[in-house]
């Protein structure tokens, strides 16, 4: 049996990223393929172990609350640890089981989200041109989703590159008509924020780890869609280089 639960952690992260993007098809695909792999192991035993540990945790939390214990969290952790030892519960199985339960829960949540999205709502009858601009794109370097609101465009993207490796100097060259306002963040910070603006566009870009979120504002002229898409592609392609 493969004892390394890293594949489950990776799967959970990938599923969460896909949900954030609104790419439910990819989230379902990732969750299902990894749950299929997990089924090859003694997954029922893992789940049972994790459920037993959860029950123990709940019981001591309740007891600590009733007794109004001081240092409640520390006391609960100590009691749970002792209990696991006494009952000879396998911590590796508990870890696997907990991750499996989490992935199952995510899978259920995606099914629920997909169902809601497929239902007919007032939005279905709203401005069609606005909805036509909502899309999900995949390139070699990134995946991104665009959602158009009446006064702005919201973009979410997962890049191959971490925010710490971004080169905004290249971006300046690619967008010569824009003024850049970049926050000087401490080196250890894993996020960055910058704004760019020109006579006809203003964009806020926030990046953390490999995630990028952009809000783009531009006057609602007939060529707005073309201009916005061009800037989005330039920013994402350049930051992902």
């Amino acid at each position: 049996m493969e004892k390394d639960p890293a594949f489950l952690i990776r799967a959970i992260n990938e599923v969460k990223e896909s949900i954030w993007l609104g790419d439910y098809a990819k989230a379902i695909e990732t969750a299902d393929s990894n749950l299929d792999v997990a089924k090859r192991f003694e997954f029922i035993e893992f789940e049972n172990t994790a459920n037993e540990v959860r029950q123990i945790l709940r019981q001591f939390r309740k007891e600590a609350k009733q007794k109004n214990m001081k240092n409640r969290r520390f006391w609960v952790a100590e009691q749970v640890s002792k209990s696991i030892e006494e009952k000879k519960l396998d911590s590796q199985k508990n870890l696997f089981g907990s991750l499996l339960i989490y992935l199952y829960d995510l899978r259920e949540a995606i099914a629920y989200l997909s169902e809601i999205k497929s239902q007919t709502t007032m939005e279905t009858y709203a401005d069609k041109t606005q909805q036509e601009d909502d899309s999900l794109q995949r390139t070699d370097r990134c995946r991104y989703s665009i959602k158009r609101f009446p006064e702005r465009w919201e973009v979410r993207s997962i890049l191959d590159k971490d925010v710490l490796q971004w080169n905004t100097e290249i971006l300046r060259k690619e967008l010569p008509d824009f003024v850049f306002s970049i926050e000087e963040a401490p080196k250890e910070r894993r996020s960055t924020t910058f704004e760019i603006y020109s006579r006809e566009m203003y964009a806020q870009v926030v990046g953390q780890d490999n995630q990028v979120e952009m809000s783009i504002y531009t006057p609602g002229t007939p060529d707005a869609r073309t201009r916005v898409r061009k800037v989005i592609e330039t920013i994402l392609n350049t930051l992902g280089q």
């Binding site: 009446p150 006064e151 003024v179 306002s181 006057p219």
Partner: protein
Amino acid sequence: MIEKFFSGDVSGDIGEALFAYFLINVINLMPSQIGHTKPVKRSGYLTTDFVVWDNLYRLTSVLQKSNYGLPLFAEVKAFTSQIDPSRIGHGLAQLKMAIANSTLIGLLFLVIRNQQQQRYDAYLIEVER
């Protein structure tokens, strides 16, 4: 709206709504020329509340300039109880950061509840670097 006490968030919403009303109904800008930005914190300050594309320079009727760079960055501060000078100072600092190193101008829109006359008074302040 005139007599109630509001939390800061509600006061802010009233101020921003009045600013949008002013731009659309008084200055005759199109709603698509106004962007209500998301608050993003940068260097200790939030980004300004609005970006405005006044391409036809309609605001010259109330500003002391005949033309200006675009976009216009605007910050709204609303006071439904006492006026807090530090918030005005903070608004100016937000605009100063937005227009730094540029020839742009900023707009500070102040909305103050007038208890005696049961109304809101609005002031538009032009901010230059």
